[in-house]
């Protein structure tokens, strides 16, 4: 019995050590972003002095090198939140129509969604760029938002979940003369909170993290998302390791906070469980 717990303790120790080493890039990034560039490679991990100078430079002084970090941070939030709201709401409506209403061509519509998901996104990047150029939308916020306003994946996920909600709820609401909007907001959405959270969270992190598309359609620093400005800053001012790492922390922080706060939904969305 005693031997068992010893080997179990060893496994716990090894797994904990591995978990910490998986976090190591994060820990190193955060601690180094608080150090002077000259000290980052020459001091131990937990050796100071620590200060917020790199962050102050990033948000206050970087205008001088034409890198408006604060502005691009707002851009990233603006773009990601707009797309997330649009995708979540449109997926709820269209998902409801697909799951609970009958219309002609319903089966075809569903097959179309599945076909769309099979084609890899990289095939569409060049022709979509041409489309955006045709609309004269290069270097506008619209170029970063409009191509992502609706999502076949979102509609599919929501409709699969809505199907599981018993029709009795909808009939009851109809007897009370509820229109479609009311049924969605008061019945379907509260009963299917987790799928909507999953669609919203994965859409937000996807847009926040998107790099290739904004790299192609956005050359104006004022309208860039943070990801592109940070990459651009790192390429031309890579020797300023401190500020570059501070920028990486700012770029990572929102999704890490979302992940920790809504880890339950993230796990569900990846169809994983920890039981």
């Amino acid at each position: 019995m005693k031997k068992m717990s010893l080997s179990s303790m060893a496994i716990h120790a090894v797994m904990l050590l591995l978990a910490v080493s998986w976090l190591y890039p994060y820990i190193w990034m955060v601690l180094s972003s608080l150090k002077d560039t000259a000290d980052i490679y020459s001091t131990g991990l937990f050796e100071g002095p620590f200060s917020f100078d790199n962050y102050i430079f990033l948000f206050d002084g970087s205008e001088r090198v034409e890198r408006p970090f604060l502005r691009t941070l707002f851009n990233s939030f603006f773009i990601s939140i707009t797309v997330t709201l649009s995708v979540t709401i449109s997926s709820a409506f269209i998902g409801y129509a697909l799951a609970k209403m009958k219309f002609r061509g319903q089966g075809l519509f569903k097959n179309f969604l599945i076909i769309q998901m099979v084609f890899p996104a990289f095939m569409f990047i060049i022709p979509q760029f041409l489309l955006i150029r045709e609309f004269n939308l290069i270097n506008t916020y619209s170029a970063l938002i409009i191509p992502f306003l609706m999502s076949g994946w979102g509609i599919f996920m929501v409709s699969q979940s809505f199907k599981g909600t018993p029709n009795d709820y909808i009939h009851a609401a109809k007897l009370d003369h509820a229109n479609m909007w009311k049924i969605l907001v008061h019945v379907m959405m509260p009963l299917n909170k987790s799928i909507l959270a999953i669609v919203a969270l994965f859409t937000f992190t996807g847009v926040w993290d998107n790099f290739l598309w904004p790299l192609i359609v956005m050359q104006e620093v004022e309208k860039m998302p943070l990801s592109v400005l940070l990459a651009n800053f790192s390429k031309s001012y890579g020797v300023y390791v401190g500020p570059v790492l501070a920028g990486s922390v700012v770029q990572t922080l929102p999704i890490v906070v979302l992940f920790i706060a809504f880890r339950k939904y993230f796990l569900q969305g990846m169809s994983l469980s920890l039981k």
């Binding site: 591995l18 998986w22 209403m101 219309f103 519509f109 084609f119 569409f124 060049i126 509609i155 920890l274």
Partner: protein, 292 residues
């Protein structure tokens, strides 16, 4: 009355669904048609595309850069597949034995999966740089350093390490879900037959996890053909084009060399090759396993 309602509802449902069809027509079907036009024409972003038959297909097939990038994908998979599958299995098997702090450990690994590509690419390029902490550690313990991203023989391996770091949590939890669904009775029976732990792993656990292993391999191949941010930011595709992935080649062809029709044709080749690879692997290794 009821019938009238149904017609109204059908019209409403069709109307809502057609908003998405309209949107897809502009942002999916129209680009798709353009993709096909591009592949059969010669065009450099200006003027009208002129029909060029199958020229683009031959140009892509004859271009050493295309083959180089394909070779790089397979080199990447050679490092990545064994590394990530072994690490994820180890993680899943370990996690099953954990009683305390299970969610902390699992979430520490998963955190890597939701991190931002630009940010971690920057962090890893600093961590593995010639004077970075990893080489510092190597130097003080083993007395030598490794040119992780600056040597053509190492660079793709190092990128595989970064992407392994990112995906072990995700793939590991997929394995874990397969692992916990294996009935305990099978192991009890094996114990009665005095089957050793190694034999149990290879004769029971791994065969029963066929579905999860195939799923991870398919996901890993999809990842391999889509890599862009890491080589673009860490190595720039170098040194000596040892890390130019198909995505980097297509990006540079379309937006720096101004050859969108060449790049569009290449994207079709890349899609076909990745689908074929996945299809062949599934045919060869996928088994229908039923636990009675």
């Amino acid at each position: 009355m009821i019938k009238g309602l149904n017609i109204k509802e059908s019209a409403q449902g069709g109307l809502i669904a057609s908003t998405y069809l309209g949107y897809s027509l502009v942002f999916w079907i129209f680009p798709f048609v353009w993709l096909l036009i591009l592949t059969f024409s010669d065009w450099q972003f200006i003027g009208t595309p002129s029909f060029s038959g199958l020229d683009n297909f031959f140009n892509v097939i004859q271009d050493p850069l295309f083959w180089k990038s394909m070779k790089n994908v397979f080199r990447f998979l050679m490092y990545y597949l064994p590394m990530v599958i072994f690490a994820s299995l180890f993680f899943a098997l370990g996690l099953k034995k954990i009683k305390y702090g299970k969610s902390f450990i699992a979430l520490s690994f998963l955190l890597a999966n939701v991190s931002s590509g630009v940010a971690y690419s920057i962090v890893f390029s600093k961590l593995f740089s010639d004077t970075g902490p990893i080489n510092d550690f190597m130097n003080s313990v083993f007395g030598f350093t490794i040119p992780w991203f600056t040597n053509p023989d190492f660079a793709m391996f190092s990128i595989a390490i970064v992407i392994t770091w990112k995906f072990v949590g995700y793939y590991g939890l997929i394995f874990y879900s397969g692992l916990v669904s294996i009935p305990k009775e099978i192991y009890d029976a094996a114990e009665l037959d005095q089957t050793g732990p190694v034999k149990r792993l290879f004769k029971i656990t791994l065969p029963l996890m066929n579905a999860q292993i195939i799923m991870v391999v398919v996901l890993a191949i999809t990842v391999a053909f889509g890599i862009f941010t890491e080589p673009y930011l860490i190595t720039g595709g170098g040194p000596l084009e040892s890390t130019t992935t198909p995505m980097v080649v297509m990006y540079e062809a379309a937006f720096q060399r101004m050859e969108p029709s060449w790049a569009a044709t290449m994207s079709i080749f890349v899609a076909i090759i990745s689908f074929t690879l996945i299809w062949v692997l599934r045919k060869l290794f996928e088994k229908n396993i039923e636990i009675v």
